[in-house]
Amino acid sequence: MKILVCISHVPDTTSKINFTADNTKFDTNGVQYVINPNDEFGLTRSMWFKEKQGAHVTVVNVGGPETEPTLRKALAIGADAAIRVNTPATDGFSVAKQLAKVVQDGGFDLVIAGRESIDYNGGMVPGMVAGLTNSNFVNNCISLEVDGTSATVIREIDGGKETVSTSLPLIIGGQKGIVEESDLRIPNMRGIMMARQKPLTVVDPISIEPETASVSFDKPAPKGAVKLVSPDNLDELINLLHNEAKVI
């Protein structure tokens, strides 16, 4: 089985979000980048397929050279090869088009991406790759088993979960649950050394007319001060929620 894991290079979850260039660009100053958490769960699941079922795992990112440390980290975790499509990730549709080309050229059976990136939260790339490559698609995946060309997937739904059966080629939108937080792997020294020897192929992008564009950004207004209620006067809390906030 040939697996492609899509890796988005995103600001660490604790990052302060700021913008520059008249609020049109994300301010990368002082920001630490990580593998998108939703992608890392899928990458970790792919390691299981590699170790138990002999799968070959390639990681891919659409982005400039600055994203290579993130790809090297994925190699250090255990992926066999990496591909970087050499173009800035401007919008979800363009990224999906670039990835669809990689999927088709590489003949991948299983593509695992995160349900969304934690930066732009577009939530569209895995589904669009599925649409563009005419593959099966399951989103919000919290469990994935593959047997030959059949797959059993559990997806999270509002208020519960649903088990579906499908077949390869398959695109997965993964999230926490596909592996547990405690299953995530921290690269060890051997992994980091080996990652330096693994192939990281830079491929040229295809030309795409973007469908959407970011115009500008803005931050929520600072919140007013909290109203403190004494623990001895909870009637006042109920009164405020009922008469002031009108939520109960």
Binding site: P11, T13, T14, I17, P37, G92, F93, A96, I118, D119, Y120, N121, G122, G123, M124, P126, G127, M128, G131, F137, N139, N140, I142, R155, I157, D158, G159, G160, K161, E162, T163, V164, S165, T166, S167, Q175, K176, E180, S182, P210, E211, T212, A213, S214, V215, F217, D218, K219, P220, K223, V226, K227, L228, S230, P231, L234, L237, I238, L241, A245
Partner: protein, 319 residues
């Protein structure tokens, strides 16, 4: 030309988000000077859509669409879009709508904006405001394609009444080959889901152990609320993953969010700050959650929560 909204239903009844999506669609239709059509799949009574500006309802009643399938539902909305000559299609932010949206976007060659907060600030060029960076920022987002697909954030645009006819019209769908088949659904029917809840009661590590969740569930019961938890609690296995809310868990956009024994890490706050009113109960007055909350109680959850339950019961009895 009319704007098309996909109005979701469950077990034959339209969901509340269907009316919010219709309200949003009506605002866009007014901006574009056109009418509003809804597509409803296996919904019994769609007349209430007429209270929210829907002129016409394409009613699909097919047993092969009984269980949700993203590809099938995307095909249904695509066929409705083509029939109506629609240029703007509006969906909700439910798990199912977010699942089908990218498939639909590719089928329609439509640019897609998710997590949309407000009616378009301009229709030419077409620009909408959406959330990004997990609610830590807003993005003004331009769609350049002829057909536009919007996913509207829950509980933000709100319900806006507008009288219209909601004239029903039967509509049948030809299904593509599906490729994905539902084997089983595991859903607690007696519990409010976090996605549908008006009120969410959430607790964190401050509760010390899973055996102490009884009072959280009781408080949720009294309020008709869903229960949720912080990331450490789900990672420790005290509560199921489906209850984890925050940046890597579920997003919450309820009217009221009550956080008990949750310190308020930046990742947690990002996931819940689309909620309208936030209440925090914590022993530590320095907990970051107090900076994000509207109302706060500095106190021991094991003392405060049982008292709050009793007082709420008395309050509810008077209502």
């Amino acid at each position: 030309m009319s704007v098309l909204v996909y109005t979701e239903s469950e077990k034959g009844s339209l969901k509340k988000i269907a009316f919010e999506v219709a309200s949003y669609g009506k605002a866009v239709a007014d901006q574009l000077g056109t009418t509003l059509t809804a597509i409803a799949i296996n919904a019994d009574d769609t007349s209430e859509l007429g209270n929210y500006g829907v002129d016409k309802v394409l009613k699909v009643t097919q047993s092969d669409l009984e269980t949700f399938n993203a590809k099938a539902y995307a095909a249904a909305i695509q066929q409705a879009t083509e029939k109506e000559g629609t240029k703007v299609v509006v969906l909700s932010s439910s798990v199912n709508s977010k699942y089908l949206a990218p498939l639909l976007a590719i089928n329609l060659n439509a640019g897609y904006a998710s997590n949309v907060l407000e009616a378009p600030s301009s229709t030419s060029p077409f620009v909408v405001k959406r959330t990004a960076f997990t609610n830590k920022a807003y993005e003004m987002f331009q769609i350049n394609t002829e057909v536009k697909l919007l996913g509207v954030s829950k509980n933000t645009f709100g319900l806006h009444e507008n009288k219209a006819d909601a004239t029903p019209e039967d509509f049948s769908i030809s299904l593509p080959e599906l490729g994905v088949h539902v084997e089983s659904v595991d859903k607690a029917s007696n519990k409010v889901s976090i996605a549908d809840a008006e009120i969410v009661v959430s607790a964190g590590r401050g509760l010390k152990g899973p055996e102490n969740w009884g009072m959280v569930e009781e408080l949720a019961d009294v309020l008709g609320a869903a229960t949720a938890c912080s990331k450490p609690v789900s990672d420790l296995g005290w509560r199921p993953h489906g209850e984890h809310v925050g940046q890597t868990g579920k997003p919450v956009a309820s009217n009221l969010y009550i956080a008990i024994g949750i310190s308020g890490a930046i990742q947690h706050l990002a996931g819940i700050n689309a909620s309208k009113v936030k209440v925090v109960i914590n022993t530590d007055p320095e907990a970051p959650f107090f900076k994000a909350a509207d109302y706060g109680v500095v106190g021991d959850a094991f003392v405060v929560v049982p008292q709050l339950i009793e007082k709420l019961k008395a309050f509810k009895a008077q209502q």
